[in-house]
Symmetry: C2
Subunit: 255 residues, 2 copies
């Protein structure tokens, strides 16, 4: 039985899962679709599930379970897990399997230092290149984010909030930096799952609104400053002080 958070119900929610080719498992003579985007599909589905905190840090990602859930072979699951492992989203323990990564306190600090280094100046660049279409796209993101929040789906809101940051890097027309930021945003999602202190409300909406305004006005310095303070706000909503162990990792620490 699957101990994953990915039962048939959440599978339907995953969105991208629907693009996983339907393999008619009637034996070995069936012509499979060989749609060949399976690895990326599985990786995307898992990534999304992790972003939305349906798979909390530390979750075991058994190969057989995933293979059965997605209806593909273990080989492709392994490839997808390996890809996510390179993004630091899953950790591989030798002969033990793959687990959703649990960033340490140190990693958490490093991730946000890297974001502080990359994102403000990227936002600056984006302001110069931002087109009306880009602004429209960003507004759509915000809107969807608000809708998700209103619906109480915090996970989805967080996911969309991450996409917002990645979109800004894309507007700056820097694919390489955008890839880095995408990775950092993904890891941030894990960090938030581990170190977020509930007392603090995530009032990102305002920050994002102001950012859009600055971008639309092509005000580079303002966008840079807003992004910087936005990231600082985000960090201050986390509990990154030294502590004996991260919440939830206790179980892992005592084995």
């Amino acid at each position: 039985m699957s101990t994953l958070g990915l039962d048939s119900d959440s599978l339907a929610l995953a969105g991208l899962c629907s693009s996983v080719p339907m393999v008619m498992k009637v034996g070995t003579m069936t012509k499979k679709q060989s749609q060949s985007g399976t690895i990326e599909s599985v990786a995307s589905a898992l990534e999304k599930a992790i972003h939305e905190h349906r798979l909390p840090p530390g979750s075991k990602l058994g190969e057989d379970d995933l293979a059965e859930i997605y209806g593909v072979s273990r080989t492709q699951i392994r490839a997808a897990l390996q890809a996510l492992s390179h993004l630091k989203l899953v950790e591989h323990k030798r002969n033990r399997g793959a687990f959703v990564a649990q960033p340490t306190l140190r990693e958490a600090r490093e991730v946000f230092e890297a974001r502080a280094l990359l994102e403000p100046r990227t936002a600056h660049s984006a302001a110069a290149r931002c087109t009306p279409e880009d602004v429209e796209k960003l507004r759509a993101h915000i809107e969807a984010e608000h809708a998700a929040l209103a619906a109480g789906d915090n996970g989805r809101a967080l996911h969309l909030s991450g996409l917002f940051h990645i979109e800004i890097a894309r507007i700056a027309d820097q694919e390489t930096i955008a890839a880095f930021i995408a990775q950092l945003v993904s890891r941030s999602s894990l960090i938030i799952a581990l170190y977020w202190r509930r007392r603090m409300a995530i009032c990102e909406s305002h920050a994002h609104d102001a950012l859009i305004a600055a971008l639309a006005a092509h005000d580079g310095p303002q966008a840079e400053e807003l992004m910087k303070s936005h990231l600082l706000d985000l960090v201050s909503s986390l509990d990154l002080r030294n502590q004996v162990s991260a919440p939830g990792s206790l179980r892992e620490a005592l084995t």
Copy 2:
């Protein structure tokens, strides 16, 4: 027959290759060492060969060839190639195989923009934390680089020059940023192979010497400035103007 630049001779040069476990291929009943670092070993060996320009951009990396060269199974070769693919060092073409990546002009510019964003401020941080042992290590790097240059081994010198930059990020105690820089340095090696104009001499030695001095003196602003100008020098030694095709990619473009 192998069309790779990795005959038995260059195999011996690869250094890390010696850590590839010796599989006694006497059939299937032989107990292999199962040293289990094979994938990393192969990936490192390939990475080094690419850094040192023994495998120029566009080289075909046939799985069977590599499997025979390193005496391991195709499975591990595939895993190693996949890892390098995530570092953007090799490109996978569907049903065609793996090739040493050929960064486009656009990618080349992006890589150096990312470096310009990351490295100067990382050098700044490194200056504050730099210990005498770190300085010694950096000097050793420089020395080896000079030795390689004197021996006419430009490839090795380039490789060491890259390690120098990564070492600085490590001194800054930022593993996450160091990983990004490592990737960018690797890709820079490919970019140099494609777009370097021979007229320009690579006078990095001086820049590196000055950088060490600034780091040793804990002069953050100076280190930041030196790194910035060093990167600019490096870019100016490249030919990143628009052109019909990169040198060497002609063959590929006409197939």
